[in-house]
C-alpha cells in the first residue's frame, strides 16, 4: 500500500443523505450529486423510502461507473425505509 493509499483510507469519509419522500429519477439525482462530492473509496449512506429506487440507484450507479453497492438494509422493519450503502468508485 502506498503512502497515498494509506492517506486515502485514513481519511475515508462516510456521508449520509436522507431522500425519504423523493421518487425516481430524483432519488438517483440526489445520490449522484452526493457521490460527486466524495472521493473514490468514500462511503455514502442513502436513507430512502421509494422501493423502486433500491433497484434503480444501483443500476444507474453501475451503468455510470459511479459507485458500488456495499449493503442494502431495512431500517425500522415494517416502515418501508431502507439504507443503501454505497462506495464511490
Amino acid at each position: 500500500m502506498s503512502i497515498k493509499d494509506m492517506n486515502n483510507s485514513k481519511e475515508q469519509i462516510m456521508k449520509q443523505i436522507d431522500i425519504r419522500g423523493k421518487v425516481c429519477p430524483m432519488t438517483f439525482v440526489y445520490t449522484k450529486l452526493a457521490l460527486e462530492e466524495l472521493d473514490a473509496g468514500d462511503l455514502l449512506e442513502v436513507l430512502l423510502d421509494f422501493p423502486a429506487a433500491l433497484e434503480n440507484i444501483p443500476k444507474n450507479c453501475k451503468r455510470q461507473n459511479l459507485a458500488e453497492v456495499l449493503e442494502i438494509k431495512e431500517k425500522n422493519a415494517g416502515k418501508d425505509e431502507w439504507i443503501l450503502k454505497l462506495m464511490k468508485l
Binding site: 429519477p25 430524483m26 438517483f28 439525482v29 449522484k32 450529486l33 460527486e36 451503468r63 455510470q64
Partner: protein, 268 residues
Amino acid sequence: MKLTEEQINRYSRQIVLKEIGGIGQKKLLKSKVSLVGLGALGSPVAYYLVAAGIGNLKIIDYDSVEISNLHRQILHFTEDINRKKTESAFKKLNLLNPDCNIEIIPERITPDNSKEILRNSDFVVEGSDNFPTKMLVNDTCINLNIPFTIAGVLRFHGQIMTTVPNEKTACYRCIFGEIVDFPSGMSCSQAGVIGLIPGIIGCLEANEAIKCILKVGDLIINKIMYVDLLRNTFNLVDIKRDENCIACGDNPRDLVKTYNYRIEDVCQ
C-alpha cells in the same frame, strides 16, 4: 457553487446523464455563450441553450420581427411584429428560464464592434442569414481564439461546421474562401426555406455549444455536416484546414480591421 433545489429539479434530466451530472451542470451555469442572429437558426439555439442552463447568453441582432419571419423564427409571435428581435427573444427566454443571465445587443455586428461584442465568450454560435456576417464571425473568433459554430439553411437543406482555433481545425473561410460577389437568389427570401430545417440545424448548433463547454462527444470539426430533408440524409463530409487560408492559415492576417466584408451590402 451549490445547485439550489430549484436548479436540481429544473436540470434533473440532464444531471442524470453520465456526460453532465452536477459537475457538468455547474459548468453550463458558469459558461458564457454569444449568439449572432435571432432568426430562424438563432431561435432554437437560444431556446435550448437557455433551457439547458447556459448561465450567460449574449444575443446580438439589430433586426425587427416581420410577419414573413414567423413560419420559421419560433421565438417570435404575431404580437411581436415590428418589435426588436432582441426584445422579443429576451421576453420569452426570461420566462423560460430566469436562471439565465441574458444580455441583449440590439445592434448589427460589424468589423468595428465584433471583437468587443464577442470577446470573453466561451463559445460563439453564428446564426445569421448572410455570408459577410458569417465571415466576420469566423475571422473574429479565430482572432480571439474562441471556438464557434456556423450554420446555414436553404430550401430543405442545411449545413453546419464547428471550428476550434486553438486546435487549428478548418474554418469557414478554408471552405468558402473569399466571397467576392454574393450569389444572387441564394437567400431565404429568394430561394425559400421550409420552416423546420433551421429548427433542426439550430438544435445541432446548440448541441455543439453544449458539447464544447462540457468537453464531451465529438464536435463537427474538420467536417461539414450536410443535411437534406428531401432525401432524409445527414452526411458528414471531411474537410481540411487550408494552410494558405487568410484567416487561419500559416500566415494569417488580422482580417477584422482590414477586410472589406461589405456588411452594408446585405439586403435588408
